[in-house]
Symmetry: C2
Subunit: 409 residues, 2 copies
Amino acid sequence: MGTLSASIDSVRGFQVAGVHAGLKKEGALDFSLIVSEANCVAAGVFTRNKVKAAPVLLDQERLAENPKAIRAVATNTISANACTGALGLKNARATANLVADALSIVAEQVLVMSTGVIGTHLPMDKIARGVELAGTSLGSDWRAAAAGIMTTDTRPKLASITVDSESGSYTIAGIVKGAGMIAPNMATMLSVIVTDAALGLPEAQASLKTAAQQSYNRIVIDGDTSTNDTVLLLANGMSGVDVSSGDELEAFQSALNALARYLAQEVVRDGEGVTKFITLNIVNAESGEAAERIGQTIGASVLTKSAFYGSDANWGRIVAAAGRANTAFDPDSTSLRVTAGERSAGDAAGLEIFSAGMPTEYREEAAAAIMAEPSITFTLDCGIGNGEATIWTCDISHEYISINGDYRS
Amino acid sequence: MGTLSASIDSVRGFQVAGVHAGLKKEGALDFSLIVSEANCVAAGVFTRNKVKAAPVLLDQERLAENPKAIRAVATNTISANACTGALGLKNARATANLVADALSIVAEQVLVMSTGVIGTHLPMDKIARGVELAGTSLGSDWRAAAAGIMTTDTRPKLASITVDSESGSYTIAGIVKGAGMIAPNMATMLSVIVTDAALGLPEAQASLKTAAQQSYNRIVIDGDTSTNDTVLLLANGMSGVDVSSGDELEAFQSALNALARYLAQEVVRDGEGVTKFITLNIVNAESGEAAERIGQTIGASVLTKSAFYGSDANWGRIVAAAGRANTAFDPDSTSLRVTAGERSAGDAAGLEIFSAGMPTEYREEAAAAIMAEPSITFTLDCGIGNGEATIWTCDISHEYISINGDYRS
């Protein structure tokens, strides 16, 4: 596997642009376009919220009907185009039509994404301006493309990885936005991953699903699941390297997993008002699903997140959250360890603070020293099975409340 | 039905005390005792968290073995006596033993409750002092008894109701504490309700369950379910009025429901850092259970609660939260109305802001004026069935984060 880079040089056959369409104030980039010169095999994973934004509905339709000839992804900010009824769907289609016209392709080859306030209609004049500007400024400025999808994100988030295989080298690259509403099964999280490797459609779908399951679906910021969550994978094959089977597919999956995990973690690190990055390793739960549920319940607990913010080793809140995760749990067989930094489940370092239903004789100062770190790992051993999951989460701060108390103003 | 009063004069045969046992700083009341001179029929409802505090386990055992001769309830603050293993259970028993000795009754007649930090052992010397002080200062100061169970509550919460029946009059009175960790299926919420009416055991159990279901289980502060939640009902029969059947039982249930609802709402009003009281009427959901789930998901949404705090009519977050409640929901059949004050589901007043999948043409200033009120009602009409539920919740403020960021220090 190649080395992960927090930038994107270029991906064969892809051009991008991030422009100011007039949606945001003061010239900030607010509209983004990704274009492939060749048809892409494309796959998507979407929010499980029953309230699905218009762009989600449109993309699901496109990927069902035309998944092997996608050419472009257009993303607008400020309006989520969710809870907007028939007009919302019409505007999503109109956006795709504008892009198709600008690129001389057909509308069915265009996917769209939206992020911003729920329940406001797309300002189509500004969208048209964004399409026009982006269409005439396509190039390799992936940083601008990543900036053009940001909402309350504080920095563009992008990464790439180049894999050298026996058949040649190929690149996988991705951008992501997140910040708030990040929860189990995604969030107002938009991500596009592109590759110049060649992939069959079932392999594209399966590999994206696998990667998303252990990355985007394993992060929790506030427990809210958005109406707009979308992760897209586009493969245009222009490297000439086919990764659809065998070792090549395995290597591709590994690289895709690493890229997706990095991007997902970046969403947590840049979450609204986040001051601490928390890794939750849940081990020896009844099942993998049980482990994931326990981790996500802890990650979504506002009480626990408040304690993280206060650098308080209030492990009781972690154990209590595990106990209400609607899955098998027995405090008497449980132990909890805390360690500074991001650690894997197998890493035995750190301080055991809870064991067999009771606190250990740990020194509060030792726990406080770990809790003062910006990155902290908790490993919760449930002692009742073999299920494992790792969840990445964060604290909740005054800043989060401020951001979300007047997001619309 | 009699009139609900926010105070308690006296309940025949019950004496109480709230004392300073040295658990809290600076002389604050921190230990509470409720004693009946006659044996009580007693019932309890408890946390559904898999992690149950020692006092919960002990009370469940007592109510299974000796539910018709309970004489006392002792409550300590500062330590929740949860996640404390075998020593925790031993200390809970020891507390009951101390109370039994002081009152010359047997330990099996004593229930105990604890609230405070999880994972700290009861300081038994201070508990002993609390029992001694309380045992010698029994009287009718219910306000002190209610103060003696407070944690981050800002005020004692108590109420009573006197019912005149054909067989005579009787009183139902209750105290409650809450503040944080208040969630579906209770919270670090402790409540004791006593009555001098006579009740059979099955009726005591059933009426408490019914009352709790539409009161304590319908409030959401932060979505965290505590290890210690307990609501107890003690009936000593000393009024001579038997309410075990017929119209008398119906009247008792009505009065108990009203008292429980008032006490539960008081918990929300006095929640940690609360600035707004929110009533969520969910109507025409697929079922009553679906309505309750939708209301509780909205009530626990941090994003939604942040918007309440910011007086932002961000209805999109409410609809999005409903969409992720894991139950049938269709935005296209849904409408949402917002009204100032606490309103019932049938009250047609207010501003419709969302209808048939789209925002209405409401004026933002009109919505903002309602959102500026300290008490606000949202009525969400799901348009797909007959299920109804009302949930009481609140906003989340900077103050909540401050309180919970350093609760232990």
